[in-house]
Symmetry: C2
Subunit: 184 residues, 2 copies
């Protein structure tokens, strides 16, 4: 599995649909079906984005997710950290202290400070994170806006509206159940 | 598992023992035992380093590995690539073309060029790789030399010499078998 996995890819693509003008909140089910990704997989991702303050959730049949702050204040790194959590590029096992010459008792000079090999990896991770922090959802949306035809945003809004209308017009048989989570 | 895994950590630590003055080639078994890591694990790593031209191998009872080029011409990135192979930070699944609005036929504008999300990840990977390429085995060895007491290189050489002497002085009973690989 890649270091930045499918969850990040799915989360970013679906968040992009929340950057434009919206009629209302979007459920993670609708976002998943619009984007063509697994609904159950996306239903696990959006609560993490909510916990990180990237989206806000509302409940009920018209409930769903909205961005919790402006897209130019949400970086790719914010989304990666929200979804992947604390996942280092390299996990130092401090093997520098295990040299056979030390006879099981590593001297201070061998283990003081950060291992030089670990330090290289930490610098590499810092560069990677700096680059991920340099792009926001607004930047990604702008690059998409520059490519898509003028009619596309309206088509997407119409798609969401049709989904919402279908949901409110035809309630399922049986006792009405309150949807506890917009992703349910 | 971290993106830059145990194999890279073990490989780098063991390669550092080959950067100084050596009496002769070192087997991967001796390197593993000197560094306190799994011998069978390291025996799988060194052939990859040999294939990448980072170490050269010699056979026989006194055989083993030497660096194939000067330590200031071997970067951390060379070692990572030799051991990890082609392991991208992010694997784009081109889900941008799956939008439900396209009805199964993604238009050219949606899939032309590199996906903007993939492009961010490729830039982040490039920064990470640039940083890994900025440090050589010579840099790492220099930082270690600055810490270790003057007697340490001699102790390590004595440790290798004792291992070699034990191997040549006490051949195993039974028919003599030629060791095909220094790592065997």
């Amino acid at each position: 599995m890649a270091h930045l996995g499918n969850s990040v890819e799915y989360g970013l693509h679906c968040l992009l649909w929340l950057t434009g003008p919206q009629a209302g909140p979007a459920s993670s089910r609708d976002l998943a079906e619009l984007q063509g990704v697994s609904t159950s997989f996306l239903a696990k991702i959006f609560p993490k984005l909510e916990k990180a303050g990237i989206v806000s959730a509302s409940e009920g049949i018209r409930g769903g997710y909205l961005l919790a702050r402006a897209p130019d204040r949400i970086t790719v790194l914010d989304v990666v950290d929200a979804i992947e959590g604390d996942k280092p590029l390299f996990e130092c096992q401090e093997i520098r202290g295990r040299c056979a010459v030390f006879g099981g008792k590593a001297p201070g000079w061998a283990t003081d400070g950060v291992c030089a090999i670990h330090a290289v990896m930490l610098r590499a991770e810092k560069r990677m994170r700096e680059e991920l922090a340099a792009t926001t959802l607004a930047d990604l949306a702008k690059s998409l806006d520059g490519k898509m035809p003028a009619a596309m945003p309206g088509q997407v809004q119409a798609w969401f509206a049709a989904r919402g209308a279908a949901r409110t017009a035809a309630p399922p048989d049986g006792p009405k159940r309150r949807r506890r989570r917009p992703s349910a």
